[in-house]
Amino acid sequence: MVRLEPRRQHSQAMVYLSPVLAILMTLVVGGIIFAFMGKNPFDALYTFFILPINNSYGISELFVKATPLVIIGVGLAMGFRANVWNIGAEGQLTMGAIFGGGLALYFHDSESILLMPAMFVLGALGGAFWGAIPALLRTRFNANEILTSLMLTYVATLFLSFLVHGPWRNPEGFNFPESRPFPDAGLLPIIFEGSRVHLGTAVAVLVVIAGWLLLSKSVIGFQLRVVGKAPQAARHVGFRQKRMVWFTLLLGGALAGLAGLFEVAGPIGQLQPSISPGYGFTAIIVAFLGRLHPVGILFGGLIMALTYLGGELAQITLGLPNAVTGLFQGILLFFLLACDVLTKYRIRFGSIAAKGRTA
């Protein structure tokens, strides 16, 4: 019989090493898969992980892709810390894009400098609104937020699709299902000339700093850690779990909404049926890869952004399907979870045969 036995003391170093280990094993398994597909594994891995970032444009693209992942990841980590499992960031991202982008479309001939801040606010509100629904269902009816937030994702993406196919379709757009382009006042300023790195990337860095302060220095961050680690202790001192459900879903939703707005007001510049290659879902992996710590999430976001870039390049130069990106992300999550389990538990074979003589 094989069983898992809790380790009495788990190594703190392994908690931080396990993402590194997971990445290494992902590379090995990825190489094997490439070999089976008839590609030279070393060339393929080079194409996937090095080629995308061996020039300055590549690195700037890495930042562009990492921006939404980091912003969403920080928001999700707050919830995960408090055992609030918001799986619907993709939907909240979409609603943020619809709310903020809708404002840009409404004022499509505006030149006001107030348009951009207003879009920020509406984007965050849109995401928070979409996060509020699972929060309400959880706190009032005890409905599992994993299911409700996930299902609402599909509602949001279909709603966006309806808008760009119908009421918000560009009247001058030759019937393509997309909105008008946003006015210049509704586009994020580029912060590095010649690249697509926009203001949102700077915001992402601020979000990391603010998230770190909130989590480790503030009373509310303390409360969510206690609620997550020891619900009974939280009840004992009067930290209300329901408040934490509301707080984390609203915050996570708002950040996802903001990330969605940044996508449509940044690289995309208009509303389309598809505005995200699954950033909201990938951010879940980012959050865990970063050990639910904002600074870790910054690195996690960069690594996962690389899988997007590598996947695109692999399509172009190696002729591999786009599914390679999802495959790599999945393998990475698998190894990460496996490493985490083995950090906390050891595997024992046989029921009682093994002895614990060694310390």
């Binding site: 009495r8 004992h236 060694t358």
Partner: protein
């Protein structure tokens, strides 16, 4: 019988190591047939590990077990039962919604005929004086009756060695005496009994031999009948024992904690509803709440601490005259009440947070450890350092995780955290549960000192010795009801025992001595 033939069980040089700790170090002793043998030791002395080795749950690293003169290897509890070893656990593993008979059948290796089993059960019950209706559902039974199921289960297998692990922690003194009668009858028939306890007067009343463990080693063997409880306690802890200093005769101030006609439905499925609880604790007074576990003490604690979802009736709970029934825990604490729950890990403290953070947990308002929504690092750390220093918490420092502390040290930290907040009211549940004797006496002294400064202290405890040692007055809970408070000086342990059994009609009637149940009830004369 003794000294002749082979021992029923002989333990020779048993050693068992866990990562980072030598739980059993070269332990040897023997139990003769018909002998009631006590295994004494504090928590962490290695008693449970040894029992698990004897019962086949764990394997010894070194040493051997000799059963009726032959070396044996016991691979599993199944093996142990086959050989004739029975174990009555401290915590019962019973299915609440099934009947007594069904629960017994589940634990037997091979049951084909329920009617035959019923006959066997009734016969065992009759022989050993363990009345129990086989068709009652477990959730309707008292804790003492539940324990009887476990004992009947063991007896059905005709054990030659019966092991009881802290069997009396959930029993009233009268139930304890009944249990002892059963055990003595079993011993007379030749069954060896290994009795694990830290209640020394019980060991003295019941056992003929004792083996004392400390730090995984056998440190003494003795005849409990020739020792005093104090001398055995000193063998267990390895140092002289000092009784808590109660100070001068205390005077009591105004009522600081008042509970009036508090009724509250339990929020747990098989919990106990509180029914019309009344009590008043004055400044400087330590009041004990005695009772068998599961008679509403947890519900009372949660109602007082403000943890319950449903609100008590207005004015049913007052702290220093302010009605707090509709307040959450934080507002009650702001009024000067502090609370220590029974469970340390996960309830009183967060195991994988540092001591600093755990100090912050309950004290951040009263000790002003937060400002503008942010944690003030320096005062937070120095508050934790202060607790560690004042209450002699053995740890590597305020950065250590709470879960890394031993039970006694963590309890000292938690109690210290609440006491240093200078509370007007302290409600503490099982203050020394699972705590070593040194830490226990430090905690008792701290509670006495706190009361001397004018705090009203309510101690919820199953340990009558503890209540007799530190309390000024006592109330007893049974089935969610509470007896009238009685000054400690004019109440006897028998009376408390009767109240624990739920005999509220005897209240005020101070002469229950003609009750037959009390005849043998001088069990716990501390």
């Amino acid at each position: 019988m003794k000294g002749a033939g082979p021992a029923q069980l002989e333990v020779r040089g048993v050693t068992k190591a866990f990562p980072g700790c030598l739980a059993n170090d070269d332990i040897s002793f023997r139990i003769e047939p018909g002998e009631i043998h006590a295994l004494l030791g504090e928590n962490g002395a290695g008693k449970s590990t040894l029992v698990k080795i004897i019962y086949g749950v764990l394997q010894a690293d070194e040493g051997e077990l000799i059963w009726e003169g032959k070396p044996v290897t016991i691979h599993s509890p199944h093996d142990a039962r086959e050989m004739g070893i029975g174990l009555v656990f401290q915590h019962f593993s019973l299915f609440e919604t099934m009947t007594v008979l069904e629960n017994i059948a589940l634990a037997m290796n091979d049951v084909r005929d329920m009617d035959a089993l019923r006959k066997q059960v009734l016969e065992v019950e009759k022989t050993y004086g363990l009345p129990l209706d086989p068709d009652r559902h477990v959730y309707t039974l008292s804790v003492g009756e539940r324990q009887r199921i476990e004992i009947v289960r063991c007896l059905l297998q005709n054990p030659k060695l019966l092991i009881l692990d802290e069997p009396t922690s959930v029993l009233t003194p009268q139930e304890v005496e009944k249990l002892f009668e059963t055990l003595r009858r079993l011993a007379d028939e030749g069954c060896a009994i290994l009795y694990i306890s830290h209640k020394l007067h019980e060991v003295k009343a019941l056992c003929q031999k004792a083996t004392v463990l400390r730090g995984g080693k056998v440190v003494a063997g003795c005849d409990p009948r020739e020792e005093t409880a104090k001398s055995m306690a000193e063998m267990m802890i390895g140092q002289k024992l000092t009784a808590p200093d109660r100070g001068e005769a205390r005077t009591f101030g105004d009522v600081r904690l008042a509970v009036a006609d508090l009724s509250l439905a339990s929020d747990e499925q098989f919990g106990t509803d509180l029914k019309g609880i009344n009590l008043e604790v004055r400044g400087g007074e330590i009041m004990g709440v005695a009772g068998v576990a599961g008679n509403g003490q947890n519900e009372l604690f949660r109602a007082l601490a403000g943890e319950t979802e449903q609100e008590a009736a207005p004015d049913s709970i007052k702290i220093d005259g302010t009605s707090v029934a509709h307040f959450g825990p934080r507002r009650r604490r702001r009024l000067g009440a502090t609370f220590v729950p029974e469970e340390r890990n996960g309830h009183g403290a967060v195991p994988d947070m540092s001591l600093s953070e755990n100090g912050f947990l309950t004290a951040f308002r009263r000790m002003a450890l937060a400002a503008k929504g942010l944690i003030r690092e320096v005062p937070t750390k120095s508050f934790a350092d202060n607790i560690i220093k004042t209450f002699d918490v053995r740890t590597t420092g305020s950065g250590a995780e709470a879960g890394s502390l031993s039970g006694g040290n963590l309890q000292k930290f938690i109690v210290g955290r609440e006491i240093l907040q200078d509370p007007g009211v302290l409600v503490i549940s099982q203050p020394t549960w699972g705590v070593d004797a040194g830490a226990a006496s430090a905690i008792h002294q701290a509670l006495l000192d706190l009361a001397a400064k004018g705090t009203a202290v309510l101690v919820i405890s199953q340990d009558l010795d503890e209540i007799f040692a530190i309390c000024d007055s006592v109330v007893v809970m049974a089935e969610g009801k509470m007896s009238k408070p009685r000054p400690m000086a004019d109440v006897s342990i028998e009376e408390i025992g009767l109240l624990m059994g739920g005999l509220h009609d005897l209240e005020g009637n101070a002469t229950p001595a003609n009750d037959t149940q009390v005849e043998g009830g001088r069990v716990g004369q501390a």
